[in-house]
Assembly symmetry: C2
Homo-oligomer: 496 residues x 2
Amino acid sequence: MPAAAEAALAGGPAGPRALRPYLDLVLAALADGAARRAGPLPPGGPRAVAARVREAARPVLPDAGVGAEAALSGLVRLLAAGAADPADPHCAAHLHAPPLALAAAADLAAGALNPSLDSWDQAPAAAELEAEVAAAVAAEVHPGAARADALVTTGGTEANQLALLLARELLGPGVQVVTGANAHHSVHRAAWLLGLRAPHVVPTPRGVLDPAAVRDALGLLRPGPGGAPGPALVVGTAGTTDTGAVDPLPALADAAAAHGARLHVDAAYGGLLLLAPGRAHLVAGLDRAHTVALDLHKLGWQPIAAGFLAVRDDADLAPLAYSADYLSADDDTAAGLPALLHRSLRTTRRADVLKVAVTFRALGRAGVAELVEGTFAAAARLAELVGADPELELYAPPTLTTVLFRPAGADDAAVAALRRRLLVDGHAVLGRAEAGGRRWLKATLLNPHVQHGDLRNLLKLVTEAHRTAPAAPHRPQGAYPPHRQHRENGTAPDAR
Amino acid sequence: MPAAAEAALAGGPAGPRALRPYLDLVLAALADGAARRAGPLPPGGPRAVAARVREAARPVLPDAGVGAEAALSGLVRLLAAGAADPADPHCAAHLHAPPLALAAAADLAAGALNPSLDSWDQAPAAAELEAEVAAAVAAEVHPGAARADALVTTGGTEANQLALLLARELLGPGVQVVTGANAHHSVHRAAWLLGLRAPHVVPTPRGVLDPAAVRDALGLLRPGPGGAPGPALVVGTAGTTDTGAVDPLPALADAAAAHGARLHVDAAYGGLLLLAPGRAHLVAGLDRAHTVALDLHKLGWQPIAAGFLAVRDDADLAPLAYSADYLSADDDTAAGLPALLHRSLRTTRRADVLKVAVTFRALGRAGVAELVEGTFAAAARLAELVGADPELELYAPPTLTTVLFRPAGADDAAVAALRRRLLVDGHAVLGRAEAGGRRWLKATLLNPHVQHGDLRNLLKLVTEAHRTAPAAPHRPQGAYPPHRQHRENGTAPDAR
């Protein structure tokens, strides 16, 4: 055996004693890494980060181990010092949530006990807890639907994939996906994965689907076997990645129903608003969808992964029926051992549901709603600050918590270069989006604790960086390392 | 805001201080739960476990939160008390590994910082660390292949899915999967998901694929466009779930090559043997596969998830090429910001690679090899003990660490009932497998620390339970709760 400490297990009665010194090392390394970073992300750009990772991580697999303390401290510090930390108020590019400490702590137990949700005899309590949480999520999305259910996924992408798969199996492989130009890319990737025709894309010049345009598109579908327009799945979005826009869900549901089409809504961003009485109206109509994708690692403050697919009628899950003798033989199932393989396309599955259960119980609806309100307030405040600053231009008041803006007078290339410059300097992590025919900086606010002063400073960073932008392209120190250039188009970084 | 503590974030400079008291609660609850369980799994069967979960977990989403301490302590204790804990020597049913404490601790940092591996600006250091670990894994599987690479997956199932997807994209949708009756069910499920024809299944009466039978099957495939036999993907297995058998990989590679077929090997179980000099010969020939699935949450002692798909030539990954403007616009990529979407079909992705990196560095090859040897020694010892016990029958000496055995004279139904009885009594978690036309109890040993006495006691539990087995079926107290019966075939549990 290796030195006893390195080989100690996380589970069993001795597990907590084995974990404690390692957790101490992890906490110290997290603190040290955050102090070294001293900002939302490390300065220097990809090249500098890559060099530090290679320095600290190699050899990845030495002949003789370096021991638990050196490996754990070194690599956790490396990860923290090199993180784009969503807990920093100036890290606001993506739907990339800062997790709650209690959720991250709960998740440790899932890792230490390692329940696997593919058979009851690997996860007795975890399987039942998952069923409880799934039922609760289902009841929020489809209240009053007696057979509502929900599956746990790795995120919105897997949930969208499952929604398309169910449509394929329930309506046939000729099913046509009809979605908006504002939909998430994973809808297209899922259609490709599943061997479906490419989705029909309805233009969304105003950022959201026009139900009349969806009706028109459905009417023009190639005829199905009976001569009527063929089977279709309409995919709407409740919270787009670009602007946080929400499609008009009730009218979309009417359009789908008129055609006899299924409706899936990708509410990976907006779904949690159902729990916030002051904001639930923004996603009204979700209950009319056959399937709904949710992601609590976005608005929901969970560590990755915490996705769900909610279904209005669990009969729609029949295509996932599946058993494997070694996990759920028929006689075991008949004898009362719950089968689990029909709950996912994955086999081995971590108990991602534990952290969600702990968060729901600890905070309750009221606590979750307060976090939602704090985040919305921050977005509204940022939009106000932008609106009041003559050096900046606001795209539109935010629908959810995404604020698009740009330096007044900057062209699209300058906006992209400004974003890269803030990244490479380590000053701010902002996203980008095309909207209304122009490119914008995107602040996706998910941190409920962000302060007025943080937001003011963020905007100051932007206006100052724009004022001092170099007139001509230059090649900064942060060039991406040559050894991986063949994967990345072969050019050096350019933080214009 | 909710009470400050509940809403505290895991990241940032204040994260470690916020995490510490919660981690203390988690460790105490893990210890308390393990003490309450006092065995490999909770007694009482599904009904009793479900009742305890409902009692402790409801309401899942109260109006007012119960606070962090109550939620965290209550639910973690519940999960631990209701776990089938793979760290217990009598929990050995499945490829369900007891995680190393240092790996579980490292994973906390991935949760707290929440890097998401879909764009560089969400995971600067994590993205580079993943590339480093992927390169190291690739070099182990395909040494000497200059363009070897590896993708991180949620497990063998996703790796098998990707292998079939690559075959579909490289060879066309008419590709025929040819595999053994011994292959993992996920191969079949992946073909269905991807819209491929059902796999051609070659019988494996001796537990492993016969390369001559594979050649015959390939020769009979329906002709492709040019009249020659159509394109095929041969899927072999290095470590079956039922018996731990390893297909004859070099001969399988020859058979595939003779036909011009691709070869994928599902080495989810056996892949790690590459790191153990004394056992690597068991999986010799892996390097001849185009793609190889590995799972370090099996033999590898990682918390779920820790899967990989190794590819011999990264040109084969071209079908995964993908970009999305908000994550990796072309001008950002050209400017040197690494794009990541082509590394997975998922979008948001947790940094599962951190715990693997820490484990590799801490233990080194030598430490990993010692854990492998300890596990193999336990399996060999168990087989010896079975062989020496006149009340037990051994299926065969183990190839890897899976030992099949049964009470002498028991019929198949009695074997299944005995397994269920041990589960419901909370005494042992053993699996089941059909092999050589009969049903066996299955011990999948993955705990490197298991002692001679543990194994002896495990067998004693089996022989005593068999001796005292009720003559006729009865319905024990552990009946499965009625409210979920519609999902589970509607019958009460029966631990005959």
